[in-house]
């Protein structure tokens, strides 16, 4: 279970690195928020959402995609959608 959580987190982190052009040295964990990442604003968040949807082959619900407090909540949302499928 824990290994699966890590895999989702790693894939989310990879999308984030591509979207925000982050070097590997920038750590991304469940507690990471938009305030920790340069360039993560509401505008670029839309592109992150699109990148996540493409990476995981799913559609995030509109009422949740702009209501996420940190990376952990995004990971949990992805997992809950995968579980429902």
């Amino acid at each position: 279970m824990e290994a699966e959580r890590d895999e989702v987190l790693e894939r989310v982190a990879a999308v984030m690195r591509r979207t925000f052009r982050l070097p590997e040295s920038v750590e991304i964990d469940r507690r990471t928020t938009s305030a920790d990442i340069a360039g993560w604003d509401s505008l670029s968040h839309a592109l992150l959402i699109m990148g996540i949807e493409k990476e995981f082959g799913l559609a995030l619900p509109f009422d949740r995609m702009y209501d996420l407090g940190n990376v952990g909540e995004l990971v949990d949302l992805i997992r809950s959608i995968q579980a429902a499928e």
């Binding site: 360039g39 509401s42 505008l43 995609m65």
Partner: protein
Amino acid sequence: MLKTLIVYGNCQAEAISTIFRKDPVTEECFRVLYLRSFDHPSDGRDELRPEDVRDCGVLWEQHDPRPFPHRDALPADCLTVKFPALDFNLLWPFNCPNPCDEPEPPVFPFGRFPYGDRIIIESIGKGMAPKKILNYYLTGWERYGMDLDRLFKVETARLGARDSHCDIKMSDFVLENFRSERLFWTNNHPTSALLRELIHRLLAASVTHEPLLDELDLDATISYRFAPEGPLGVVSVPVHPKIAGHFDLKWYNAAERHQNFGGVTYSGGEYVETMIREAISFRETGKSGKVVPQTIQPRAKTLIVSGDVQAEALASLLRSVPRIAAKFEIVYASNADKRAIPNKKLAACAVLCEQQDSDSLTMSKKLSQDCLRVTFPRLQLNLLWPFNCVNPYNEPEPPGFRFGRFPYGDSFVLNCVGRDVPPPEIMSYCLSVEWSQSWPDLDQLQQGESTRLLALDAQNTVKIGSYILNHFRTERLFWTVNNPTNKLFAELLFQLLHACFGSMIERGATDFEGIAAREIFGTLNVPIHRNVAKHFGLSWYDPRERHNYFDRERLSYNQYFEELIESSYYFKRLRAQTAG
């Protein structure tokens, strides 16, 4: 006392505050202050004075991760209206900060190409050649494109989510209109059309009853006081042709020229290619500016126009002459606030155009020795209105009549009013076919006016006095003694440009009709006495002409004088009652 309005936010909030300061209606309603919500790369952040915050009647606060910092100090009755930032991913879905760019103030405070493109940046990272990247960008959509319909839905959710934090909602307007009307120059720079809608919504939410605002004409203010692209059109990023086609953008023009910082314009392809070359150069050398040479950063220099409203109109028109606007930042210095010009703009002044008799800037030690100094006269012709005088029976009634109903008096009529001559009798003189012996000698007047105008030519770089003398009979050059027609103003503009730039400017270069669609000073048209017209042989004179009266009515010759007499008697009686 004016209500203090504080506008807090990014450059869009600054644009709103600038528009309000320049609009004749809003400047009478509000004292407008702007507070930046971000750190400007070269100008930093300004602060508000504590007394300004204490006096604040209305706060327009842009929704921002950094909220207005002085909320606790606002008075209890201050009305706060929260509005969203205006931005839009849909037309530039690959937008990203450009890592191969750096600020170079003052011409490029945000860098040369701060709006990066993910596809291009990634291609550069792979070591692709510039031409290959451009080709890939234009033809490789199938490989890198995204689901634009899904993006539309995500973007709709984003705009809606942000609106939910605000009192003013804008997503409905953006999503309904982005196809039919251009609403953005870049992903975060709205056009004037969108700014205007936001301002109207802000006003509707802030002001319950203010009759002055019925007169508000934002389009006129924006078109007159700003460059054609509006306050935020300094950069226009091309939209990918695939995206324009997918969303069926009605306003899209593949042949459009795109303005960038520094005043340089590019076709869509040139813009992308120059950005690619700049970025590659930056990666290789660590410095920008290898591709866009220093010689085409002309707006580092300013062209200052100083003087009264005629000078302000000249400055506005100069901003609309592409060749000049691309070369200089045009700065207007009114007689009242000349000291407000920042030192760096004075120091960068390459051309100073001063209206004669305006408080001289030429003594300023801040001006460069190389600065070209040109003087031009205030346009005025007394000859056609020999009775013109300041009207003592006139009072400002803003906003419709900011200078009163009849600011241009007629000494004969007003003397009659002063002596209580009955209105029908005054009218009979106004309509008289004979020129009374006691009235001014028109030949003598002409001699004096010729001397004055030729003396102006001798004193100024721009010689327009002789032009007036040679043309006033065959062409209408003035609406009032000091309000020139566009015909004359176009000549002044041309002569000014010629004095500044010589043969670089040919007569047709200004396309005056294109940049001044309506008469700039034609809001009031004072009738010319029939005998004056006859004496000087004015070939264009039409005694049946209707006279524009503050853009409200068009009055016949008789109506104009009847109204003048009636209005003058009204104010005379009013004053007598007040004094009594």
